[in-house]
Structure formats: structure tokens, C-alpha cells
Symmetry: C2
Subunit: 481 residues, 2 copies
């Protein structure tokens, strides 16, 4: 593959090629090879570095200067994966992956993506492929039950309902838009609207508020465990009201991105209700762990909130994108987002007997994303998923206890879920310590900062991680300290 | 599969399951079976109805009442596809699919989706998997060349750049947000901002403006060919200025959804420039056909616009989602959307040497969507894609000519691309005619309405469509008329 092909000219019309150059027999053959390539790739990940070593521009330099004019053999596509693409990947599926959060995938989920792509259908409306909508509604109703969410959030019986969105950022943005739309419909100016979250909340709150045109975002102070202080929120709301602004939205985080801190949902709900704010819960990372009943006390108060998001594509073995978004009442959501042009009118929608998910998010088109989640549930069984999450929790707690008991380390935040937040106990040695451990190539560890304190985030929950990898982390920390 | 399983309880912790119940050898075996299932499904689509015959709730009734507690065998997953899911699909990949617009897929694209899922990496930042970003930038730069777009839209050399977004609705919403943000930063109130498009523009303009909190949308009148009237736009802008409002955004459609009408881009650009409006071009459907140089006169004036979207997942053999979005200057886009929290800081981003696509759209996480587009280009070659698009154009023009020459029919709009818009010439018989042809099960035809006129949209461009299917449409129309 070289960059020496001539620049493209626009050739004259040619007559009658077949509809597809890779016919279905070639698809079978190449598809089997692609499956084998993935199996080999995943089986050998442990022998590869987690982090790519490429420099900016290096992958591009390995690609041709122009698009291919003529068909190229499938063998070359796979060879280029190995030679050009894989060296440029950060290996989120590596068993030693403990950076950021897990980005779970699994064999069942990969096959769900494959078959959804093979079907190639569109679920924008119920009528454009009824099974896409009904499998999604059903699987999300199952998840209400398995996660212990309020029964009124079910599509089939409740006023609420769940929908798959691309990402938690999209879901949070959607909630912000509904909050702003409701307020401006009632006469408020968008630039006077205020959204609240803790100063540990994910950047998607601030970004979503900016995208939605909400004038002000208050990042409220937190306590020693990095959880939002109820009194600080109440004071911020009071100050904004005093200044003539309109509080419209508050986010409770159940598991912040920085340290997986847990905001007091019920206490925040009281303030939200008092002032008519839309109350959104961002449980992007930790929400799926609520499969385990012993964790649910962390989100007490959900009966009082307006919307909730958790990512099956983080800690539930499902490929990105698969954000599960619920609303307690689908009315305001659909009122905000529904616009029906003539080419999308149909009898089923007008009957009111069906859900049209087009009206539940910004995009119109939608993939059959529920299939992969359904297949993950079938592959593991929900009890199997619970057991695996409990393993991760055990490993994380064991590591946190071990670090806590060692005078060289300081665990800087509680470990309610699978994330251990730790720094060197000697401030003068912390930067060197972090530099050493994040330089490891066979383990994926990333540093962050909270309140001016740099620390290591050890995120345990990747699909292929075993206890021995957590042990390797301990050994690395032990050496580096 | 029945609905009689007991409701779930929360079982006690279990000890040490393996990380994944479907191991990699089972993945190989099941993966080959999934590939074969897809090949068989696609090979037999022509023998199935295009439209699903299920009633609301019918698919759900075939699913269990609760999530599976224990693993289920893969054979059951495939059996349920055949028994429960496929009967509930509208078959967008059917060779007789001519409803809405094409939703192209192809063997190469399906395998690209598969391998991207198998890799399971995240492209939110350059550093989180450099190859995801660099393949995407490179392929979008290739497309600038192949589609004849302004060279300054290339990422590598220009001030502009391209990014893959989920859908044209997302891309248009993004453009609207940048326009609103720029105006409100300069002191305008969002509720006084105005967005303009023709009354034939896609509903995503109105929806995106509502989501972005832009106070007013003007749907400007069109000429006999359903293209925006320049004078009407100028008058609408003048009236808003006179009333103290702020024009911020205008959309030119190159190929409207209703009838594929083409707005005068250069004329609209003059008005946009005069008033400092963001000028977005919605070429969601028709843009990929600009591979064929003879069509590019339809979008003369692109050197003057601010953003552009076309869907590779419509008429370019690539699976949804794959919207190609370009901006002439990436500065305002990144200024609007960039927020950098501490856990995402990294040396590569701070060097300025890389693109972080997180700042080019609302979501943070992103799949490796460029891989499937690259593989489509490798499978067909761009000359092969050009040839196939020209076939579709020929078939559409031949059908339009035949209908035009027949006194029983009235072609209600020009046929610049692959869509033929036709009704019965006798207004009294039109409803019956439309009811008959849209009731066909082996061809997918859908009716729409423009200006009170109901008509049939015959959209030619599906992956597996051959000339004989267009002939079948003619025969159906002939019989029904």
C-alpha cells in the first residue's frame, strides 16, 4: 500500500456492474476469516502492549494518499489491519485494561452487532421495523426489573420508559434540553436558566448545557468523599433565585468519573422538587452494577427523579454504543422532541398503540442496538453478570484494603464500586510514582487529578481481566513506590 | 420461549466464574454460524415480504416476560431470530426496497462493523486509539477529493475538516448549535435567533432548532420544482431584521426528502454571507452521488458555505450510522464543543498536533465507524461505486420518462437523482392508486404528500436492486393505474 497512486479523475459512465462485488459466497468465506481474525486478535491481546506507541500522523502515513479506484482483495484488508491499524490502537479489550472506565465488549455482543448490521434495518419508527422497537422496549423493561429501578419506568405499564441512546453524553444532553424547553415554554429565557451538578460531575453536564443553550452551570462543592453537599446546592439555588435566574436542572451522580463518588439522590430530589427542576441521575458507569441488590442503597430516592442513564457499554459486556436512558414520564420528552413530517406519517403511529423512538432523542435513524444487549443477557444470564460484577467489586475492595493498610500509599476516596483511587503517601514522590506506573505497557493505568491532588485511577471491570491482573497491578505499584 | 419464568430475585454472590461464558473457540464456531445466517437471510430476502405484517405488541408477546437468569444456547438465539425477530422486520435490504430512501449496507460494510466491534476500542480522543481518528480523517479527506468538495475542507491541509457523526439529524443539530452559540456569544438572545430553510427541508431542521433552543424557524416558500425561492428568503430575513430578530442559520437542501429538490446554494450563500448566517448544506441523500461529476452543478457554491452533511449510510453501501459532516472552518465548531476535564488531559492533545473528535460533536465516546467506509471503498473501488450510482440514475430517469409519457400518470417533480415522484393523473383515482401500490408486499413503495398533493415516492438505490425490480415497479403501476 503506497501513496503513489494518481489523483482521481472522474471516469465516464460504465455499463451494468452487478449490485455487489463481494457476493454472498465470498461474504461467507471472508466473514469466517474476519471472525477468525477477531478470535486471534482477542486471544493474543495479552501479549501486546495496552498503549499504542504511534506518533501523530504515523497511521495516516501508512494509508494510501487517495481512495482505491478499483476493488482490492479481502486478504489485503486484513493484512492492513495487522500492519497499519492494530499498531495504532489503544487496547481497551486488553485483560490489563484498568484505565478510564471499562469499555466492555464480549463475544455475544460482537455477534449481536454483526447480525444487526447484517439485517441492515432502521428503527426510527415502530412501523419501519417493529421488532427493533419491541425488542428494545422489552429488554429495557427487563432491565428495570433486574436493576431494581421504579416499576413506573417500564414502557409497557408505566408513564415512563426506557430507550437506547448512543452515549451518556447524548442522554444527559437530552435531559437538559427537556428541562430548558419546559422552562422556556413557561416564559423563562434560556440564558437565565441554571443547571446544577457537583464539581465532580462529568464534563457532559457542562458540555450538554452549553449545547442546549442553558445560560449558567453551577458546579457545586462536595464533601470529603467528593459527594455533592446538599446545603451548598440549596444555597446556590437560593442565590440564583434571588438574582432572578431560573433553576431548571440538577444532576445527581451515582459514581462520578473522577473517583466514583455518590451524590445523595434523595436529598437532591427534595431540592429539585421544591423548585420544579428536572432531576437527572448520571449513573453512566455504576448503574449497571445495581444488578447487585447490595449496592442499591447508593441510589435511594429514584422514585423522585425524572431521568436516569447508565451505560451497558461500560460495565455490562456490551459494545459501545448502548446507553440505557429512562424517564419517569415520557410526556415531556416526547412533547419536546416530536415533529412529524408527511413522509413519516403512518397508521400505527397515529393509533397511539406504538412507541416511536425517533421522538425520544435527537437523531432520527437508529440501529438495532437492543439485539446485542439481549444476546449478552442470553450468553451470561443475569445471574452470571451479577457474579462477575461481584468479582470485580471483591478485587477492587481487596486492592483498596491492601493499599490502605500500606503506609506508602494513600487511598484518596472511597471504593463503592470497581474504581480504586490512590496516590503515593509522600507528596514529593507522587509525580514520579504516577509517571512510572502509567508508563507500563502491559497494564493500562491512567492518572487524574481532583482538587489539585494527582492520583491513579485503577478501574477494575474489563471483560477479560482476571484476578491475576489485579495482582500484577499490586506488584507494579509495590515496585514503583 | 415462554413468559412463565418466575420474576427475578437477587441471588447471593457466587464464586469466580470465568470472564466470559462464550470462549473464543465457541465464538469462532458461533461466529461462522452467524455469518452463514446473514448470508442465508440476504440470499432469501427476495422471497420474503418487504413489509412486516405484525400487529403492535406481537413481537413482544413472543419474548419472555423476564431476562434470562442462566445462559441459553446459541442455537436458541438464532432460532428466535427466525421465529420472533425476522417476522417483525421491515426489510430495508430487500431488492424491491424503494420506500423512503435507501439504507445501504453491503457485505464489506457488514464485515467492517463486525471487525470494529471485535476490536472494541474507543476513539473519543486521538490518544484513546490513534488509528480510529487517523483512518477517519484520511478517509474523509479522500472523500473530499472524490466528491469534488472544496479542498480547504480537508483535515490534513485545510482550516476545515470532516468527521463521522451518527446521523444527518445530529450533524444538522451540531451546525445549528454552533450558529446559535456564535450569536449568543455576540450578545443575541437565543429566543430571538432565527433559522431558515425551505418548506421542503427535512424535519431535522425544525427539530434541531427546537433542541438547540433557537427561537424561530422560517420555512420559506419554494418554486414549482420545490426549490427555495431566493427572493422569499431575502424577504423573510429582512422582515426578521426589521422586527429586531437575529438571523443565525440557513440550510440549503441538495436533494430534499420529499422530492429531492435542489435549493440554489450559491444564491443562498450570498444572503447568508451578507447577514453573517451559518450556511449548512443538507445533502444527506444526494451528496454521495456527487461521486459522479456530472451531478456537481447541483451544488455549485460550496466554496461559500460553512458546513455540509451527506450520509454514507444512505446511497453509499455503508451501514447506518455513518453521516459524513464537514465544516469549512473547524475553529467555531471546536470552540463551541470543547470542554476538557482532567481525566481526559494528555500530551498529544495539548501539543495541538492531533485531532480530538470528541470536540466535533455532542457525544464523547465514538465507535470505529471509518473502518466500514474504508472497506466499502476497497470492496467496490470508487469507480465501481460511481458505476452503480449511474445505473440507479439511469433506471430512475428511464422510469420517470416512461411515466411522463403515459397520460395515466403525472410526474410531480424533477428527477435529478434516484427518486421518482409520481401520482395518478386523475385526482379522483389517486388515493386508490396509492393504496394499491403501497399494499404490494414484494416491493417496498411509500406514499407522501407535498403541498396537499399525495404522491408515490419511488426511491431507486438499494444495494440489491437490479433493473428487473424497477421493471416490476412499472408493471405494478401499470396494473394499478
Amino acid at each position: 500500500m503506497t501513496a503513489t497512486s494518481p489523483p482521481p479523475a472522474d471516469p465516464p459512465a460504465v455499463g451494468g456492474p452487478p449490485p455487489e462485488p463481494m457476493d454472498l459466497e465470498a461474504f461467507r468465506r471472508n466473514g469466517h476469516a474476519a471472525i477468525d481474525w477477531i478470535a486471534d486478535h482477542l486471544a493474543t491481546l495479552e501479549d501486546r502492549p495496552v498503549w499504542s506507541g504511534v506518533e501523530p500522523g504515523e497511521v495516516r502515513a501508512g494509508l494510501p494518499a487517495h481512495a482505491p479506484r478499483d476493488p482490492e482483495p479481502f486478504e489485503d484488508w486484513l493484512a492492513d489491519l495487522d500492519e497499519v491499524v492494530v499498531p495504532g490502537l489503544t487496547q481497551w479489550q486488553h485483560p490489563g485494561w484498568m484505565a478510564y472506565f471499562p469499555a466492555n465488549s464480549s463475544p455475544a455482543s460482537i455477534l449481536g452487532e454483526l447480525v444487526a448490521a447484517g439485517m441492515g434495518v432502521q428503527g426510527m419508527l415502530w412501523s419501519t421495523s417493529p421488532a427493533v422497537t419491541e425488542v428494545e422496549s422489552t429488554v429495557l423493561d427487563w432491565m428495570v426489573e433486574e436493576l431494581g429501578l421504579p416499576a413506573s419506568w417500564r414502557v409497557d405499564t408505566g408513564p415512563g420508559g426506557g430507550v437506547i441512546q448512543s452515549s451518556a453524553s447524548d442522554a444527559t444532553h437530552t435531559a437538559l434540553v427537556v428541562a430548558r424547553h419546559r422552562a422556556t415554554q413557561a416564559g423563562a429565557a434560556a440564558e437565565d436558566c441554571v443547571a446544577y451538578a457537583s464539581n465532580q460531575a462529568h464534563s457532559s453536564i457542562e458540555k450538554g448545557a452549553r449545547v442546549a443553550g442553558i445560560g449558567h452551570v453551577r458546579l457545586v462543592e462536595v464533601d470529603d468523599a467528593f459527594a455533592l453537599r446538599q446545603a451548598a446546592l440549596a444555597a446556590a439555588v437560593a442565590a440564583d433565585l434571588e438574582a432572578g435566574r431560573t433553576p431548571v436542572f440538577v444532576c445527581s451522580a451515582v459514581g462520578t468519573t473522577g473517583t466514583t463518588a455518590v451524590d445523595p439522590v434523595r436529598a437532591i430530589a427534595e431540592i429539585a422538587r421544591r423548585h420544579g427542576m428536572w432531576h437527572h441521575v448520571d449513573a453512566a458507569y455504576a448503574g449497571t452494577a445495581m444488578l447487585c441488590g447490595e449496592l442499591r442503597h447508593h441510589q435511594d430516592g429514584l422514585d423522585l427523579v425524572d431521568s436516569y442513564v447508565t451505560n451497558a457499554h461500560k460495565w455490562l459486556w456490551t459494545n459501545f454504543d448502548c446507553s440505557l436512558f429512562w424517564v419517569a414520564d415520557r410526556g415531556p420528552l416526547v412533547d419536546t422532541l416530536s415533529i412529524v413530517p408527511p413522509y413519516l406519517r403512518n397508521a400505527a403511529s397515529e393509533s397511539g398503540a406504538v412507541v416511536d423512538y425517533r421522538d425520544w432523542h435527537v437523531p432520527l435513524g437508529r440501529r438495532f442496538r437492543a439485539l446485542k444487549l439481549w444476546w449478552v443477557l442470553r450468553s451470561f444470564g443475569v445471574d452470571g453478570l451479577r457474579g462477575r460484577i461481584r468479582d470485580h467489586l471483591d478485587w477492587a475492595h481487596d486492592l483498596a484494603d491492601r493499599l490502605d493498610a500500606d503506609a506508602r500509599f494513600r487511598v484518596i476516596a472511597p471504593t463503592p464500586f470497581g474504581l480504586v483511587s490512590v496516590c503515593h503517601a509522600d507528596p514529593g514522590r507522587n509525580d514520579d510514582f504516577l509517571a512510572t506506573v502509567t508508563a507500563a505497557r502491559d497494564l493500562g493505568l491512567a492518572a487524574s487529578e481532583v482538587d489539585g491532588q494527582r492520583f491513579l485511577r485503577i478501574s477494575i471491570g474489563a471483560t477479560w481481566t482476571r484476578r491475576e491482573h489485579v495482582e500484577q497491578v499490586w506488584e507494579l505499584l509495590d515496585r514503583a513506590a
